[in-house]
């Protein structure tokens, strides 16, 4: 209130000061506020309880969610990489190919490797066998056969005992400068076919079909 109040203002103020709520009206409005406050407290209490409960659940979820998600993601990546990556057999075989590039050994094929012997014999005559020898791939005794194309290219056949790696999703592909295929001929016999890019596909199929036909 200002200090200097003119009489007119004072009269108006007095007029309104005389207008007040009755006690019953005051009580009604106060009880209205009390009721609202009680309702709000109840509501806030319920919400708080819900928030606490959901907060705990949320924290528990968060506690496990992140590590589980990370573990799942890493597992998925690991599985995917292992499935899509080039099998070790191929990379090992490639190393052997490079190592034996200048080797023209035609080694003895033992009587115990009858099927392999028959497969070597099954190579059509128009293709010359440049080399056959035993090597070790994945610590398994494997016969490595190198066949030259009629005009160009080299084909390498690896006859490996036992099953191929069961997690190989890819059974064909390229590795460095060579194409490769893996064929499961029998439960205990795997054939890895590797050939240079200048080797005719038709020649590869011809040789492989003839060789595989030996396997009953």
């Amino acid at each position: 209130m200002k200090n200097t109040i003119n009489p007119f203002k004072k009269a108006v103020q007095l007029f309104y000061e005389n207008k007040s709520l009755s006690d019953s009206q005051q009580n009604q409005l106060q009880s209205l506020q009390e009721q609202a406050r009680t309702d709000v407290n109840a509501l806030v209490g319920t919400e708080s309880a819900n928030e606490i409960e959901s907060g705990i659940c949320h924290k528990i979820r968060n506690k496990w969610l992140i590590p589980v998600s990370i573990a799942a993601s890493m597992s998925a990546i690991f599985v995917l990489v292992s499935l899509l990556s080039v099998p070790h057999l191929v990379s090992h075989a490639y190393t052997d190919v490079l190592k034996d590039a200048s080797d023209y050994t035609l080694g003895e094929l033992g009587a115990t490797n009858r099927i392999q012997l028959d497969m070597v014999k099954a190579v059509p005559e128009k293709y010359s066998i440049e080399m056959h020898k035993y090597c070790f791939l994945d610590k398994e005794k494997t016969m490595h056969l190198r066949v030259a194309g009629v005009e160009q290219g080299k084909l390498h056949l690896f006859f490996k005992k036992g099953k191929g790696e069961t997690n190989w999703l890819t059974r064909t592909g390229n590795y460095k400068d060579m194409h490769w295929k893996i064929l499961q001929l029998k439960d205990d016999l795997t054939l890895l076919v590797m050939y240079t890019q200048d080797m005719r596909e038709s020649s590869v199929n011809h040789i492989v079909n003839e060789v595989v036909s030996v396997v009953g």
Binding site: K2, N6, S20
Partner: protein, 161 residues
């Protein structure tokens, strides 16, 4: 929570609008319910906020009843009020005369009178409430004071007050 004094203040404001005590109470109750119904009523100025609610409720009701004559004060009405000759300083009136004036004035004039005389708001503060330029409010105040003065001059002539 509004205490007794604040509730009385709000009631008087409502009364300045509607001039009827029962109606003023109803409006106040409705406004309070509306205010309280919002659980999160953490308003910076609850009294001012509630006055706005009261005002809105009153004008909504009147608009619905279509009995109010809305007086518009355009900015063109602004006049130079630096020298306001319609001062009411010397005017001596009794409570009966105040009642007569309040009944004679329009809703907007009564509200303005209440805000200016009872709440003692400045023109700038009233301008904020109305969301109008300060000049417009000064113009309204000038007209209000003039009207009240004219009323008394007229009353003196007619009734010899």
């Amino acid at each position: 929570m509004f205490d007794r004094n604040e509730l009385n203040q709000l009631y008087r404001y409502a009364l300045s609008l509607c001039k009827q005590e029962d109606m003023a109470y109803d409006i106040l109750q409705s406004a309070l319910e509306r205010y309280l119904s919002k659980a999160d009523n953490k308003v910076a100025k609850p009294l001012a906020f509630l006055k706005t609610i009261i005002r809105n409720i009153y004008f909504d009701q009147e608009r619905h009843n279509k009995v109010i004559s809305m007086v518009t004060y355009d900015d063109q009405d602004e006049i130079n009020l630096i020298e306001d000759n319609s001062d009411l300083d010397e005017l001596l009136i009794n409570q009966q005369q105040v009642k007569l004036i309040v009944n004679k004035l329009s809703t907007e004039e009564n509200e303005l009178l209440y805000l200016w005389a009872v709440e003692e708001y400045t023109a700038e503060e009233i301008a904020k409430i109305y969301d109008k330029p300060r000049g417009t409010v000064l113009s309204k105040l000038h007209r209000l004071k003039k009207r009240i003065k004219d009323y008394f001059v007229e009353a003196e002539v007619v009734e010899g007050i």
